[in-house]
């Protein structure tokens, strides 16, 4: 049973919760309102690449690619909507639509110099947008890092249009050196599901529709010492020490294993970690851990560790299992937090323990089915169930059906406060 103050749903742009004061379902925004209308820019942003590609294919030193996705979302809330006649909370649902365009631009400036610039433009429409005041302002900026590279192009009743540059960096490589400057993804994870080493951009698996992830405004210098070994150092832009992240990563290969060791400073903590990717016979064996030692007495230490095994059978059935220990995790929080908890490498999952199992199987070469389960053996026995169906409709056209169902054990037994379903059509170009 949801209580006052419970958060029922949350995304990068809005939050659904039961108000502490009134007990009513409440939508809140996560950042201040600021709206700029530039409809022409919008049209330009959405259709530019198609015009660009209508041209011929002569050799050139730049390229465009990307995709357009349309996703319909159905969010079902059990016992969440207050019905005053009945004097009880009843079930309700929200229906939303998201058109999403991603444009990746690459410019090979010189042999050793490349520019990357990626633009992400989204058009939101639906119940959640309508029910949420200042929806545009809420989604703006949440994915920004140090610099503000995003804007709300339209914000009207049930419609919001938002665009942002989530990659903008120069890459210089010469010999064994590689230097990147600008908004980039620094992905230091090595294991399959959870990545405690990913201290620059932690990943929430519930946010499956943003596989590229937000970028970090950073400088990264990498030196390759062998075919699978390297040393790298990365610094995120900052004004104050308490928000800085500076870290080094050493990768090396021994036997048939890749190893990595991580050390650095991140937001008032010293981070020490490591990971590996290898095999047990024909199965993959991967693991990763990070210990966060506070440099400030008011903070608590944290430790996150994960280990996993994956195997692919000769009939293409794929199995993946793993475990996460998260010292910060709760043992009794409501499962509704899954869409809401404060994500970071320190806290990759809202619970202390997570047991993961995933299975996927190609029913036909065009139709792939799978399901992932995460069970937390804690007081509330939280369970996350994530079935997926993926269909290749044609070359460059894909259709996905994704479910996200959450369950936990409350006073009246096992319940499922939220079920989300997504139908996504994607065209890549």
């Amino acid at each position: 049973m949801e209580k006052r103050g419970d958060v029922l749903a949350d995304s990068s742009h809005a939050r659904v919760e039961i108000s502490e004061n009134t007990g009513r379902l409440w939508f809140t925004m996560l950042s201040p309102y600021s709206q700029i209308m530039r409809r022409l820019i919008l049209v330009f942003l959405l259709f530019l690449p198609f015009w660009g590609r209508a041209q011929e294919d002569k050799p050139r030193n730049w390229s465009f690619n990307g995709y357009v996705k349309n996703m319909q979302t159905l969010l079902f809330f059990n016992d969440a909507f207050p019905d005053f006649k009945q004097g009880a909370l009843v079930d309700t649902f929200l229906q939303d639509n998201l058109i999403h365009h991603r444009l990746n631009f690459r410019w090979q400036v010189k042999d050793e110099l490349r520019l990357y610039a990626d633009l992400r433009t989204r058009v939101f429409y639906g119940d959640l947008v309508r029910a949420t005041p200042d929806y545009g302002a809420a989604i703006d900026d949440v994915n920004n890092d140090y610099f503000d590279l995003s804007t709300v192009l339209l914000d009207e009743e049930a419609w919001v249009v938002h665009t942002m540059i989530d990659r903008l960096y120069l890459e210089y490589f010469k010999g064994d050196w590689e230097v990147r400057l600008g908004r980039q993804r620094i992905n230091w994870g090595i294991s399959t599901v959870w990545n405690p080493n990913d201290i620059f951009n932690a990943f929430a698996f519930t946010d499956f529709d943003y596989e590229e992830r937000p970028g970090s405004d950073a400088l990264r210098v990498k030196y390759y010492t062998g075919f699978a070994s390297s040393l790298e150092l990365a610094v995120q832009a900052f004004d104050r020490w308490d928000e800085a992240t500076i870290a080094g990563l050493w990768k090396f290969n021994k036997g048939t294993y890749d190893f990595q060791v991580l050390a650095g400073y991140t937001q008032q903590d010293l981070a020490l970690g490591g990971g590996w990717a290898g095999n047990l016979d024909d199965a993959g064996l991967k693991g990763e851990f990070t210990y966060f030692l506070p440099l400030n007495d008011s903070r608590q230490e944290s430790f996150a560790a994960t280990v996993g095994v994956d195997y692919s059978f000769s009939n293409s059935l794929y199995l993946n299992t793993g475990y996460l220990y998260n010292s910060r995790g709760s043992t009794n929080a409501s499962v509704a937090n899954l869409f809401n908890f404060e994500l970071s490498a320190r806290n990759l999952y809202p619970y202390r323990h997570g047991i993961f199992a995933q299975v996927s199987y190609p029913f036909t070469p065009l139709l792939n089915g799978g399901a992932a389960f995460i069970y937390s053996p804690v007081e509330v026995h939280a369970l996350f169930v994530n079935p997926t169906l993926t269909l290749s409709v044609a070359d460059n056209w894909g259709l996905d059906l994704v479910g996200q169902l959450i369950f936990d054990k409350e006073e009246k037994g096992y319940t499922s406060p939220i079920q989300a379903f997504f139908l996504r059509l994607k065209f890549s170009y």
Binding site: Q184, I186, G189, A228, A283, S312, S314, S316, P365, S428
Partner: protein, 251 residues
Amino acid sequence: MKKLILAVLTITLAMGATANAQSLTAKEIIQKADQKQRGETSSGELKMTIVRPTWKREMQMKSWSMGTDYMLILVTAPARDKGAAFLKRENEIWNWQPTIDRTIKLPPSMMMQSWMGSDFTNDDLVRESSIVIDYTHKLLGKETIEGRSCYKIELTPKEDAPVVWGKIISWIDTEEFMQMKAEMYDEDGYLVNTMYGKNVRKMDDRILPSIMEVVPADKEGQKTIVEYLNLKFNEPIKESFFSIQNMKRVR
């Protein structure tokens, strides 16, 4: 997707490895065909088409290889997978995913699985590299395939050899030493797949079939086509080319 690439990886490595033949022995013939197809190093562009009765899918890639142990593949189409790369060094395989800026190590079991409805199976193709050791070779005679005079050679697995086929019949061109056709049989002697070499042309310094088609025996309207758009042999490629660093940079 991963499976498809791994299949190509194994096919291209294995294509070369179409083992060894008599005056020229049967074994020597197959060995010559093998050396010709593979070279010390090779690099090229290829297109793979999976054909089914009601649909087909295409993908295109560039590949670089050295012997059977080192290989790098860069996907150039379809759009969705463009830029993804695969690196194989002996028993280790890595996959580069540019969209998430991450190198993923794949479990060895991925090399063994079949893909895309299994016109090719990775399993047998990977193991074809040991075809010289694991099979005994018998020259059955000569036959004409596609207007070319070919040696017809029977390959029978040795006892306890780790191979999936019960028998392979291979047709090798008597002049150019290229495999023009092969039939793969299961352990009960039933025909499973037939592979055809087509569109013979000069690629770099040698004459080879530029198209390979694999047709399963009992599946109407189904086949897989691998077409070499270009191919170069024995260009100097260093072992250090096959690195994670280079997997991200090739284009």
